[in-house]
């Protein structure tokens, strides 16, 4: 069994940030997609719930998509 503790920690943080910002998962996926994300909407949702793993670059993109949408919402 492969263990990717960095990936899992990043995933945990992303899931928490996503829930804290109360984002709509479809809207988030579209934003992530517009930045070059290539995971599907369903994989993205599963990742945020901790049941799927994304590649490192996809994780970074999704982090930033959450960051940008979260900021948009605060304004």
């Amino acid at each position: 069994m492969s263990v990717d503790s960095d990936g899992e920690a990043q995933r945990d943080r992303a899931g928490k940030a996503f829930r804290r910002a109360e984002l709509d998962v479809d809207e988030l996926w579209m934003h992530y997609f517009s930045m070059g994300g290539d995971a599907g909407a369903m994989e993205t949702e599963a990742y945020l719930h901790g049941s799927y793993m994304l590649r490192p670059i996809q994780r970074d993109l999704l982090d930033h998509a959450i960051y940008e949408l979260g900021n948009d919402q605060k304004e």
């Binding site: 809207e27 579209m30 517009s34 670059i57 940008e68």
Partner: protein, 248 residues
């Protein structure tokens, strides 16, 4: 959060439209007008029937009716913002008015309807089943039938009208999907534009800074966050340095 933009779930509609799976507007119009006509003919006492699509703000978006009397009664209702069709749509329940002269639920509309010679009516919601199969059916409009006699309709008429509303709702959903697809393809165009700019800028940086793909992305993300701008703007800046700040 009130802002909602269900995008990902509706992407299949765009492809359905592109591949011609969605019906065109004239086809839908004709089918719905036929249903209105069938309704009018199958309910004794009817002087006219109609179907109205209602958007989420309670505004009518398109209609089909058997005659101008129905059209006028509808117009009044949406102008007043009150009436049996709007109630049927909002509540998801059938609404029957046995005598407009005595009904107190929508006094203004009843008065106006009475002047048109309409004395009773039934409105049923147009319901489409929730696609995920978990939630409640969604009301997308109303179908109604009018009479110039009081007490023209009973429970049975209500049942017949509800039965006919089923196929009408399904056909109209197709039209709504088409409109959503048009709106969505604009959103998708923007997304694809930004996506390719970011991809290109990533490639430029990889070459220029001799970094990996992830390194290039992290470079752009850091810049976006320190400058407080969107990632797509950072990418534009890298691709067209004359427009914004200096690139590395």
């Amino acid at each position: 959060m009130t802002r909602k933009q269900p995008v990902a779930a509706e992407l299949p509609e765009i492809f359905a439209r592109v591949t011609g799976l969605l019906l065109t507007e004239p086809v839908v119009d004709r089918a719905v007008t036929n249903i209105a006509r069938a309704t009018h003919q199958s309910l004794a006492g009817s002087v006219g029937a109609g179907v109205t699509l209602i958007d989420s703000e309670g505004r009518p978006t398109s209609t089909a009716s058997t005659n101008s009397l129905v059209k006028e009664a509808d117009r009044l209702q949406y102008e007043l913002g009150d009436g049996p069709c709007l109630s049927a749509w909002a509540s998801g329940q059938a609404v029957r008015v046995d005598d407009l002269r005595e009904d107190q639920r929508w006094p203004e509309w009843s008065k106006a309807g009475g002047r048109l010679g309409l004395l009773s009516c039934i409105s049923v919601p147009l319901l489409v089943p929730d696609l995920t199969g978990t939630g409640e059916p969604e009301p997308i409009g109303a179908m109604k039938v009018y009479s110039d006699q009081p007490h023209a309709f009973d429970e049975r008429s209500e049942e017949v009208l509800s039965l006919l509303a089923g196929p009408a709702a399904l056909i109209l959903t197709n039209l709504q999907a088409r409109e959503r697809a048009a709106r969505l393809s604009d959103i998708l165009k923007d997304a694809l534009h930004s996506r390719s700019a970011i991809d290109l800028a990533k490639g430029v940086l990889m070459e220029r800074l001799h970094v990996t793909e992830r390194g290039a992305l992290q470079f752009m993300i850091t810049r976006a966050r320190t400058q407080g701008i969107a990632l797509s703007r950072v990418a534009q800046g890298i691709l067209d340095p004359t427009e914004t700040d200096r690139t590395p």
